[in-house]
């Protein structure tokens, strides 16, 4: 293996979940080291490592800790183990195979943030993983890594596993906090940020499982090692996930900065497509980040230059925190790629993506609640062979209003919904238009009348069924 497996070093080892195996590999040594440092030094140390959050937004963990008010009595640490972004499963792999690595990270982060209670918010779909983590927590308590006066340092930390019950939006940090407090997982308005008033009104840190799992290794191996990995702004290693019709789907660890093509075709990663198919589309960072065109499209003649206006292959996109933006993606996200093969109908992908967001929208902000459900209805109609070319413009316009810029809504879900839907419609518009051309004439009008007779009176249908109507509210920016 050319890339050193750091977070995944115990994956595949027998009984890797057990404390014994973890300790044999040097486990909890970093925590002991960290507990001997002063809190300030530890925070500064992690800041120096520029550990950007692995949960999707990429916000540096050390800076996040720095937002906590200096004078505080109670702090809570919430571990975001609500990994709901399809097709992401790296946290699952971590917790399934090496739960103690996360627990050690919790101990270090808890000490650095002067937390006395840590909650592991684990999504409800994790059943086997829950049992593993819960057993690991019990073992850690027995071994004295949690509880009072940990390792004789005088530091107390309680760690509880809190199970969710199936809601994507609880992976958003304030949604998670609301859910932890026993309410519906409606994200909160910010400010106040969780660091000031989070869980139970107290300063709270929410960190992703993978972010925490990285901490023991930085402390063990030092900043130079960490900063030597990855690209300019994206340090360290990352667990990449690849799924879909590739030969070897799975979770692979590599320093930040490999390309999408390498992830799909690389020997150490996906090992190419099944049956030698070509890639039609690839969502390289979790669904919300948007789609790239695959190598079904012609190769970009001017390598390195990104030309989003032409239909070129975009698999050269480097998976770090910066390069993805050149390809009109929202961000790196969870670095979990899903590949759509050439034989898949792009309309089906659109319907699936739209359904996910329509179903998982929490319903708080208007444009997300109504917009996602509306787009799902449009996507279904297009898939059923009753689309209008105007629908594509409409979807594009709605996505631009929903998630043109962050901040139009309370949480990032509508941004995350807008990006994949818009990139799908924009980048694969030619295919959509082929389907529209192939469908029965007047199919759209018939379908609309069939599903909604009340709509028959609408001006859009009176003799102008297939023409765009209403126009756009968004004035194109030059």
């Amino acid at each position: 293996m050319p890339y050193e497996q750091i977070l995944m070093r115990n994956v595949g080892v027998k009984n890797s979940q057990s404390l014994k195996v973890y300790q044999q590999a040097g486990g909890y040594a970093s925590a002991e080291k960290a507990l001997k440092m002063s809190v300030e030094d530890l925070v500064e140390f992690v800041k120096g490592g520029n550990v950007r959050g692995r949960g999707g937004a990429g916000f540096p963990a050390g800076i996040k800790w720095g937002f906590l008010p200096k004078e505080r009595e109670t702090t809570y640490l919430c571990v975001n183990a609500d990994e709901s972004e399809p097709p992401t499963f790296c946290n699952r792999v971590l917790m399934e195979h090496d739960p103690h690595m996360m627990l050690e990270g919790i101990l270090i982060a808890g000490y650095a943030t002067r937390t006395n209670v840590a909650y592991i918010y684990m999504r409800g779909e994790f059943t086997e993983q829950f049992h593993i983590v819960q057993k690991a927590v019990e073992q850690a308590y027995e071994a004295g890594y949690f509880g009072t006066n940990i390792l004789g340092s005088g530091y107390d930390l309680e760690c509880y596993v809190h199970r969710g019950a199936g809601a994507y939006v609880c992976g958003e940090e304030t949604g998670l906090i609301e859910s932890l407090e026993g309410k519906r997982g409606w994200p909160r308005i910010k400010p106040p940020f969780p660091a000031i008033a989070g869980a139970f009104g107290k300063p709270t840190v929410v960190n992703n499982v993978e972010t925490l799992a990285v901490l023991p290794h930085i402390i063990e191996r030092g900043l130079d090692w960490w900063n030597g990995l990855g690209t300019a702004n994206s340090k360290g290693t990352k667990m990449y996930c690849i799924s879909g019709p590739v030969n070897r789907p799975g979770c692979y660890e590599a320093p930040l900065g490999i390309s999408t093509r390498e992830l799909i075709y690389g020997e150490d990663f996906g090992q190419g497509m099944r049956d030698g198919m070509k890639v039609k589309a690839c969502s390289p960072g979790g669904l919300s980040m948007g789609f790239l065109r695959g190598d079904l499209f012609p190769e970009n003649p001017s390598k390195g230059e990104v030309d989003l206006t032409s239909d070129y292959d975009e698999l050269d996109c480097i998976l770090d925190f910066d390069d993805v933006r050149r390809y009109d993606l929202l961000g790196l996200g969870t670095a979990a790629a899903v590949v759509v093969a050439e034989d898949t109908d792009i309309r089906r992908v659109l319907t699936n993506v739209c359904r996910f967001y329509a179903l998982e929208s929490c319903g708080q902000c208007t444009q997300c609640r109504e917009g996602t459900a509306w787009m799902y209805k449009i996507a279904q109609r297009i898939e059923a062979g009753a689309g209008r070319s105007f629908d594509l413009d409409l979807i594009e316009e709605v996505t631009k209003n929903m998630g043109m810029m962050p901040g139009m809504s309370i949480c990032g879900l509508p941004d995350g919904a807008a990006w994949p839907i818009r990139t799908l419609v924009q980048k694969f518009r030619a295919e959509f238009e082929q389907h529209l051309a192939a469908q029965a004439p007047n199919a759209a009008a018939e379908r609309i009348i069939a599903t909604n007779p009340a709509a028959y009176d609408l001006p859009v249908l009176q003799g102008r069924a297939l023409q765009p109507s209403g126009g756009t509210y968004l004035v194109p920016k030059d």
């Binding site: 519906r184 109504e370 459900a373 509306w374 901040g407 599903t451 709509a455 859009v460 509210y473």
Partner: protein, 526 residues
């Protein structure tokens, strides 16, 4: 007082309020649904978004930030510059209005909210005429969520004002949002209906026709109503209200903002307790008993009759706490004119249980009369022999008193049979009341009273706050309103105008002359 710049115009605003509130108070029409000054801020409707000038992250130069900010959630800061009229703000308003109408049924013709619905108003002003959604709309059942309220889920815009009201103001939390996303609904737990004593406010809070009052259901279209500011007589709190009435009667009572008493809310008894003014069996003409025979009388002959009956010793006047300050003052003045030694008594004060307070301070008073404070203040001013109503009844029974003038004016039967029996032994009993009752049967002279909706004046609430109310309807045919009648009794010329009488009254009782005017509050998408 911070100064902020909205759309290039500098305005001064109160400290600590959101930009939205400042803009509304300065006269901007900013669309909003979820924001209400009396409730916590959730910033979920995303309609009030604005542009704000921020320093550029690198150059630190002030410029319009690319993202929009919810103005309900942004507190005013001295010197900040925002705008509500720009391309991106208006784009957002247009889009969000379109989202609202996607699943909203267009049943305005049968919706009671039509005419005062902010969805209608905003659609016209900020939205688009046509919907671009051609698929099926969501259909939801209508729900009977409580004894007084209906919920039309179809029309809901999920602003959650009602849910927050039930949680924060009423403190009972019957309402909740169920399901999620576009299937979200407002609901109550089955068998736990919305039945707290403030629940009617959710109907006012609802910016669309989702929550409807069963009392007002299908009764009138709101554009046929005239609205008059008034003060609720249902208890002694002096809650400010609007009365909606037209030729067919009084149809609805809604809260009127008053920062010192009821803020934006009223209790259900204040809201629903007006129905007696529309009752058909109200007294409408004076009746006089002569030689054992009862006959109808004309208003013209009454003053002379009263002067004659009350001139001697042993006369008494019962001044009800249902009367306004002005009327009470005129009646007491008349009493002193005809009989300087007449007994002045404050009428029966109905009391039910204890004062009840709600989490944010709203209080339902146990005392169910609007003006005991004012009447007692006036009686104290006039001095002379005074007694309680019970004592008065006792003296009537033992013959100390000869002639008694009883003003009632209560919405429901108020006198006990025993008291009525005691009063019936008088030589002359004059009863001025709304309805026939045990007392009117025995009275020598019955005068029809007008309810507070047909009078004008001022009430003094339990905390001594004097507040004026206006007349919503003319007195029912045959009735002479109390103010006018008492004024004529006193021999004052002209038509009764409460402000004029208040000035006269203020010369002797200064603290009843000034009425309290609540701050003008902008319409919060009611």
């Amino acid at each position: 007082m911070p100064k902020i710049i909205i759309d290039g115009k500098e305005i001064e605003c109160r400290d600590g309020i959101p930009v939205l509130q400042a803009a509304l108070e300065a006269g901007w029409d900013v669309p909003h649904y979820c924001y209400h000054p009396g409730l916590s801020v959730v910033a979920s409707c995303r309609l009030c978004l604005m542009e704000q000038k921020m320093p550029h992250p690198q150059t630190k130069e002030m410029g319009w930030a690319p993202k929009l900010f919810p103005s309900c959630q942004t507190p005013v800061k001295d010197g900040m510059e925002v705008r509500f009229h720009s391309e991106s703000v208006e784009n957002n308003q247009k889009h969000v209005m379109e989202y609202y109408l996607l699943n909203h049924p267009l049943d305005c013709p049968v919706c009671d909210k039509a005419g005062e619905c902010s969805l209608q108003d905003y659609s016209e002003k900020f939205g688009n005429a046509t919907s671009r959604m051609v698929e099926d709309k969501h259909k939801n059942p209508k729900k009977d969520i409580g004894p007084k309220t209906l919920l039309y889920q179809d029309r809901c815009v999920l602003c959650t004002r009602c849910v927050r009201f039930a949680d924060e103001i009423a403190g009972t939390g019957e309402l909740a949002v169920v399901e999620r996303g576009s299937r979200g609904e407002i609901d109550v737990f089955p068998g736990e209906p919305l039945a707290n004593d403030l629940q009617g406010n959710v109907v006012d809070l609802c910016p669309v026709g989702c929550l409807l009052d069963k009392q007002f259901l299908f009764r009138q279209r709101v554009w046929n109503l005239q609205t008059v500011p008034s003060v609720s007589p249902a208890d002694s709190s002096g809650a400010c209200i609007w009365i909606d009435a037209n030729d067919a009667g009084v149809h609805r009572v809604r809260p009127r903002f008053n920062e010192r008493v009821n803020e934006w809310w009223i209790s259900d008894e204040q809201r629903h307790g007006f129905e007696y003014v529309n009752r058909e069996d109200r007294l409408t003409r004076p009746r006089i008993r002569e030689n054992g025979q009862v006959r109808g009388a004309s208003w013209e002959e009454i003053p002379a009759h009263l002067r004659a009956a009350f001139a001697g010793d042993g006369s008494a006047f019962v001044i009800s706490p249902m009367l306004s300050n002005e009327e009470a003052w005129l009646l007491a003045t008349f009493a002193r004119q005809v009989a300087p030694n007449a007994v002045l008594a404050c009428g029966h004060v109905p009391v039910e249980g204890q004062d009840r307070s709600f989490p944010k301070g709203f209080t339902i008073r146990a005392e169910k009369a609007p003006n005991r404070g004012g009447v007692e203040r006036i009686l104290a001013h006039f001095g002379g022999p005074q007694m309680s109503f019970d004592e008065l009844c006792g003296q009537a029974a033992d013959g100390t008193l000869k002639a008694v003038y009883v003003y009632g004016g209560y919405p429901a039967a108020w006198i006990t049979p025993a008291q009525a029996e005691q009063l019936s032994r008088l030589d002359c009993l004059v009863v001025h009341d709304l309805f026939d009752g045990p007392l009117t049967e025995r009275a020598d002279l019955v005068l029809p009273a007008a309810p507070w909706t047909e009078r004008e004046g001022s009430f003094t609430n339990c905390d001594g706050l004097v507040q004026a109310f206006e007349r919503a309807r003319p007195p029912r045919s045959g009735i002479k309103a109390e103010g006018q009648f008492f004024q004529e009794l006193c021999g004052l010329p002209g038509l009764f105008r409460s402000a004029k009488i208040r000035t006269m009254l203020g010369e002797s009782i200064a603290d009843l002359a000034e009425t309290f005017q609540p701050r003008k509050e902008p319409e919060h998408a009611h």
